[in-house]
Structure formats: structure tokens, C-alpha cells
Amino acid sequence: MTMEGAMTLTEGPAAHARPVYQIDRLSKTYARNSLTALTDVKLTLHKGEFVSVVGSSGCGKSTLLKIMAGLLPPTKGRVVLEGRPVTGPRDDIGMMFQQATLLPWKTTLQNVLLPIEMRQGRSAAKAAIPRALDLLQLVGLGDFANVFPGELSGGMAQRASICRMLISNPAVLLLDEPFSALDELTRDFMNMELQRICAEQQATAFLVTHSLAEAVILSDRILVMKPRPGRIVEEIVIDLPRPRTLEMVNTPHFGDIVAHIRDLLGKEAFQ
């Protein structure tokens, strides 16, 4: 099929911005079962860019994310963030998980401050309170700073975890299907919130998702991965204008892009 404007270009709108995260010739083989999870992965995230990776389960996208987060060592290849190789967890990497994973015995504010408290101690956390409150304001949780997570809804909890991710001013945001546990309406809303927050923070974001629509509505570029062995098979530049709106989902162009990705992934991927 033909894809007007959304063809497999390698030049995105942010392609001329400064590169933030650079990965080259990355391979990962699990020693235990000599399974090749990733082979020859190459990708660059530029400043302010939103990049998603889609693929069926087992295509290695979670492995890629863990390597990028410094949670898992690569077998081979170069993994460089802001000019420094990633050799473990770093405070300039922000992460968000499928669940909000807020600690129920800490207030929303204390949860947001957790990364600071762990890395730099209590007094540094105390000093960061104004910034944490600003962030809570940014995500619309200004009135919930001193509430325990048990009283937050799923969407509110994920917004608090956005603040926790942003508190240490990370150079890159790694998002591991962050809203997959939410209901569809909340999820749509949160995606729009995420877009707004990323724009305001000029964040460089990397999203792993199962949802093609979510990837298309949020991303400047989408990387399509295929399994056995995990590799990037195509890069799709999304040329929908920003800011994106939920109405765009209903446009033919949006449908074309989703259909194109679905085609790429093949029938076997989503069965």
C-alpha cells in the first residue's frame, strides 16, 4: 500500500536537534538459554523527540528498554546517553512502569520525592519539596500532595508517578506501557496529558507500547520491531501536526498509518 507522507523516512522533524540517546550495534543474548533477544539495534533519540517502539510480545522491546534504563547490561554494542555510556541506573534517566508503583505508606508528595531521597538523602528531598509541588501542579494534582495513594484513582496515581519520574530532571524518559492498566477513556486522557507535559518540559521520551493508536498519536517516530531475533525492521515518521488531538484518531491519514504498521507486524504478531 502507499503511504503518503508517512513513508519510511529516516529524517524526523526533530532529526536536526541535538542527539540525546545513541544506541549502535546493540545485541543482547541471554546466557542462560542463549536466546538472542536483540540483534544489531541502532537508534538515536534527539532532544525533544517522542519515539515509540511497537511490536508483538517477545520482540525484545522490554529488553531494549531495560538496557536503556541501565537495569540490564548489553551483550554487545554502544549505549550512550548525553555522551556518557550507560553502565547502570542513572539519575538522568526517568522511568515509568505499567503500574504507578506508588508506595502506599508514603504521601503523594513523599512518593514524588522518593528518587531524591534515595540518591541524595532526606535533606535534599526536603529542599526539593517546592519543585515537587510545582510538578504536582503541572499534572493537576496540586491539591493531593498530602494524600496517601490509596485515595488516588488509577489515573491520578499514574500522574503522580509522572512527577516522580520528572523530579530529578532526567535527560530521557523511558515509558514502559505506562497507561496499559488504565481504562480506555482515562488512557486517552492521560496520553493527551503526557503530550502536554512532554511539550512543556521539552522532554525526550521513549515509549514502549502494545497499542498502535497510542504510539501514533504520541510519537514523532515509531520503531517497528520483530521477534526471533529482536530487531528494528522499520522506522516510521509520523507527520501529523502538533499538538495532536484525540479527533485525529478518526482521520483517514491516522487510519492509514495504523494499518501500515499492522501490515508490517503481520498477522501472526497480534494473534
Partner: protein
Amino acid sequence: MTLHPNLKDDDEDTLWVEHVALIDSIPRWVAMLGLAIVVIAIWDLATTRMGWVSPIILPSPSETLSDLIIVGNNLLSGGHMLTALWTTTRTVLWAFLIAMGIGFSLGILVGETKFGERAVMPYLVAIDTMPKVAFAPLFIAWLGFDIQSKVALAAFIATFPIVVSTAAGLYAASENERMLFKSIGASRLQTLIRLKLPTGLPYIFTGLKIASVGVMAGAITGEFLGGGKGFGALIRESASMLDTPRVFSFILYLSLLGLALFFFVAFVEKRLVFWNKSDRPGGVA
């Protein structure tokens, strides 16, 4: 609107309502009191009224009550029974403290280290399957007839549930939570203290409640088998004299000690694990 022929026009609209069971509409204390009255009435019928059961086997409620008052007076006036009860209380508290100390340590060793999980746990399981009361003669031989041997037996019995629950509690933190702590650069000790232990508290308290019951059983068993000056010795003495009402009232007062310990643990749990709102059936601790 046409109605089914079986329905009359003046029928009420709501034809199917939720049935509320009678027991749900009664306050709990009324239900408990009601059951107690029924049981005591049957008990009274079987002993005083009909004489089905010999008073040596089962004393009547009135006999038991008057003995309860006698024992209660002795306890309140600081008689020899209070001294005995205090001995047993000390045994129980010491044993509980020791069981907590050893239980937490072994639980963390098993739950946190590969060595503990692989090498230590199998031995603990093996010892746990033994009838622990059988160790009583050994403890008496090692520690004598005084309070120490009873403390040892009670602590020995109460340690295992704490070990198992602590180890299980340390596994309770989810994969995402562990990843979060890793990604924010938390050390292993920080992860243990700030994530795994708090997350495991509900499990740990379940173990502590089981241990609080076990420690009572251990202390009394120890006093049965090893003599001494505790409440267990008093019970055995009364039983050997066929003074069944006395045995009954001793058991009742002893159960107050067990209840106090159990509810103290439950109270601390409620304070400490304030975020856990899991409702247990009947609302019992």
C-alpha cells in the same frame, strides 16, 4: 402499556427485591451473646437440670461461675495464683521477644539471600515438620526446671511462623516496585528497609499472630511437662485432684492472657500497616 395477564394493574412495580438474611440485620455483639446463652443453657440442662453428665467430668455453669469468682478474687488480691499467672506471662513475653528476634533474622536471611533460600530453608522446613513439643525434655535437660526451659520451648514453637511469614513478606514486593527501586539507584539495604520490609508487613503480622497463639501453647506445655511455678503447673495440679471447675476457670483466665497478646499484635498491626484495608471475614483482627 399491556401487562402480563398474571399481573394486576395495581401491583407494585418492584417485584424482585434483595433478600436480607436475618443474621445480617443483627448486631454482632447480640449474635455472640445469643450463642453464648444457648450454649450455657444446654450446658446447664446437661449438668444441673438433667444430670446427664457427671460433675467430675463437666461442672455445672453455676459451679464454674462461683469458682471463676474465687480465682478472680485470688488474682485481684495478689494471691499465689497471680504470682503463677505473672510467671507464665513473663515466660510468654520473653519467648515472644526471642521468637521475634530469631524469626526476623532467619526470615531475612532466607528471604533476602540465595544462601538462605538454598541452604538454610530446607533445614528449617525439616525442623518445622517435627512435633516441636517432643523437644521439651531436651530443653528441660539443658536449661533446668526453671522458667528458661519453658521460654525456650515456647520460643522454639513460635519462631517458625515468623520465619516463614517474614521470608514470604520479602517476596511480596512486585517486579515493578523492585525495578523502580533499582532504577532510582537504591542500594540493596535501602531496597530491603524502604521497600521489601514495609511491603511485607501484612505477611509478617500474620506470622506474628500465629506465633502469639503458639507461644501460649508452648509456655503451658512447658509448664505441664517441666513443672515450675506457672499457671500450667496449677492447672495440672487441679486436674490431678479432679477439681474440674478450677481447671475450667484457670483455662478461662489463661485465655485472657492469650487474647491480650493476640489483640496487642493486631492493634500494633492496625497502627503500623494503616494503608492495608483488606477486610477479613467477620472483621476479626
